[in-house]
């Protein structure tokens, strides 16, 4: 009785703290995005004044290029997601269903690759991309992003495909379906939740990426939101925090909504992908 009481107190206090810890920087971002004169030449806390100006500026001022960055991010992340999920589904299907030499090396190889620090690629990759004339194009980010997100995607799909009973595709094969048909008509429809969670995780990873985008783009043509926001500067040297936070809120809220709506998929994806590593 006494112990239960103690436990409940701990739980409630813990849950409240947890919510506060998780939310407060996010809420702060939203508050500042609605604060007038948030370059803070004076203290904003004495005179908090509600305004939509920050949003108006960020959405309409063409010299800030925020809408360009946002569009670039959405296009690149979407294309990367589609391609990565497709390619990793092929790979995962081959590894989990087909017997071939080197079958067990592939996942270990791909997982090992994910251990490379990004910095150990960029020195050379930059030269590579530059020589191809890809700087400031979507290609400069598309190819490295697909390569970079493949290990995660392969790992999630592999652990999911491995759970599906092998009889399913064997039955389809005996009925005369080809391997490709089996994948499209049997495995993929059954894997919708895994494909979905993989897609979300890849999308968020691609939207989040910074180092490649920082190095392989120099202007608004292919620059993404994280680089845009990292390099956001005021004209007169002061930091336009109101604008930065409005831009941050616009870019973050879609991701947060995605995360909230599809949290079950994200949870199962993250945990499946990671726990299979045992």
């Amino acid at each position: 009785m006494n112990e239960n009481f103690l436990k409940n107190i701990l739980l409630v206090v813990g849950a409240v703290l947890m919510v506060l810890v998780c939310l407060f920087p996010f809420i702060w971002m939203i508050i500042i995005s609605f604060t007038k004169d948030a370059t803070f030449l004076g203290s904003p806390y004495v005179s908090f004044e509600f305004t939509l100006d920050n949003y108006r500026t960020v959405l309409s001022d063409p010299t800030l290029h925020f809408m360009d960055y946002f569009r670039n991010s959405l296009i690149i992340a979407t294309v990367v997601t589609v391609v990565t999920v497709m390619i990793s589904a092929f790979g995962a299907y081959a590894v989990s269903r087909v017997r071939f030499r080197g079958r067990l090396i592939v996942p270990v190889f791909v997982l090992g690759v994910s251990m490379f620090p990004q910095i150990s690629l960029v020195g050379y990759l930059f030269k590579f991309i530059e020589e191809l004339g890809w700087i400031n194009t979507y290609k400069a980010l598309f190819f490295p992003y697909v390569a970079w997100t493949l290990p995660l995607a392969l790992w999630i799909l592999l652990s999911y495909f491995a759970q599906l009973p092998k009889d399913l595709d064997e039955a389809a094969l005996i009925d005369g379906a080809s391997r490709i048909q089996t994948l499209y008509k049997v495995i993929l429809p059954l894997s919708a939740p895994a494909l979905f969670s993989t897609a979300l995780l890849v999308f968020i990873a691609a939207f989040n990426e910074f180092m490649f985008a920082l190095l392989f783009t120099t202007d608004y043509r292919a620059r993404t939101v994280p680089v845009g926001i990292a390099l956001f500067q005021g004209v007169h040297g002061e930091v336009p925090w109101g604008n930065i936070m409005a831009a941050s809120a616009i870019s973050t809220i879609p991701l947060v909504i995605l995360a909230l709506i599809f949290q079950k998929y994200i949870v199962s994806g993250l945990t499946a992908g990671a726990l299979k590593g045992e």
């Binding site: 813990g14 920087p25 620090p117 910095i119 926001i229 991701l255």
Partner: protein
């Protein structure tokens, strides 16, 4: 029969080809390239280069600056991963209880993870600001004077750690929650009948059974933390005075100076650091497994 096997094999390689092509062309080749560059001097790609063997590595290993950023990186990883493991475990334990609104709570915990790293770094940068940041405003509200959070080596280090812990705890929480949910409930019921207290149950049932998941989670997070770049680049730029310069950032700075040989050598050393931590963690994990 052999024909079928051959077809199957050919099919599998065909299915794997796009994936391997991407990985080889855009990861393996660049890493090998970086290694190759690290063996050369004056690799500005314009002036040409000269093979210097391991000289760049000797130069880097002789730099105080390198050992200092290695120290910064390793301390960052240890402190950050420890804090987020403790916090993540606490969150996971809360979420694992049948409290009301568990679904909403689990969704809220995901928010820091969904905020892009750069955006969270800038938000923390604003909160740490000396003259109008949230933290100093709270201090002044209770009559204390402000702290120059990003201005002194120690406070800047912890400022970066805190921002990183905020961002990455959800990942830890989810992994540990999955681990907790895999523990069968009757194990606890038996312990309750035997009169074990809440803390005894945690110590003697939860922790040991969670150990495999803990080791995987800590390994994954450590691999990531040792490569830290984004959050430091935005929050402190590596300062003040190099106090928060991670090895990745140090390599990046050399690339920026056009010194590709040294930058590449540091990059490869960063990879070797990650690799050695992973090997040690996996060894320790298996070792404990064997003791059971």
């Amino acid at each position: 029969m052999g024909g079928v096997k051959y077809t199957e094999e050919k099919f599998a390689y065909g299915m794997l080809f796009p994936m391997l092509a991407f990985v080889v062309l855009f990861i393996i080749v660049p890493v090998l390239g970086t290694f190759w560059v690290s063996l050369h001097r004056d690799v500005t790609f314009i002036q040409g280069f000269k093979f210097v063997g391991l000289n760049n590595y000797i130069t880097v290993l002789g730099k105080r600056e390198f050992w200092y950023s290695l120290f910064v990186t390793v301390s960052f990883s240890l402190v950050s991963v420890t804090l987020e493991t403790l916090l993540g475990l606490a969150f996971a334990l809360i979420l694992n209880e049948g409290i009301r609104g568990r679904g909403i709570l689990r969704a809220i915990v995901l928010i820091p993870w969904a905020v892009p790293t750069i955006i969270s770094a800038r938000t923390w940068e604003l909160m740490y600001n000396y003259s109008y940041g949230l933290f100093n405003w709270m201090l002044s509200a209770v009559g204390l004077s402000g702290v120059n959070w990003l201005g002194t080596p120690l406070s800047a280090f912890f400022a970066v750690v805190l921002a990183d812990v905020w961002k990455t705890t959800p990942f830890m929480t989810l992994l540990l929650l999955a681990g907790l949910q895999a523990i069968p409930g009757d194990t606890y019921e038996a312990a309750i009948i035997d009169g074990a207290s809440m803390f005894q149950r945690f110590r003697h049932i939860t922790l040991p059974l969670l150990k495999p998941v803990l080791i995987v989670a800590v390994t994954l997070r450590t691999i990531d933390a040792l490569r830290v770049f984004d959050i430091i680049y935005v929050l402190t730029g590596g300062g003040p005075g190099g106090a928060t310069t991670s090895v990745s950032l140090m390599a990046f700075n050399y690339y920026n100076l056009g010194d590709y040989g040294i930058g590449s050598a540091i990059s490869i050393l960063t990879f070797l650091t990650v690799l050695s931590f992973t090997v040690v963690y996996l060894r320790v994990g298996r070792f404990q497994e064997g003791l059971k």
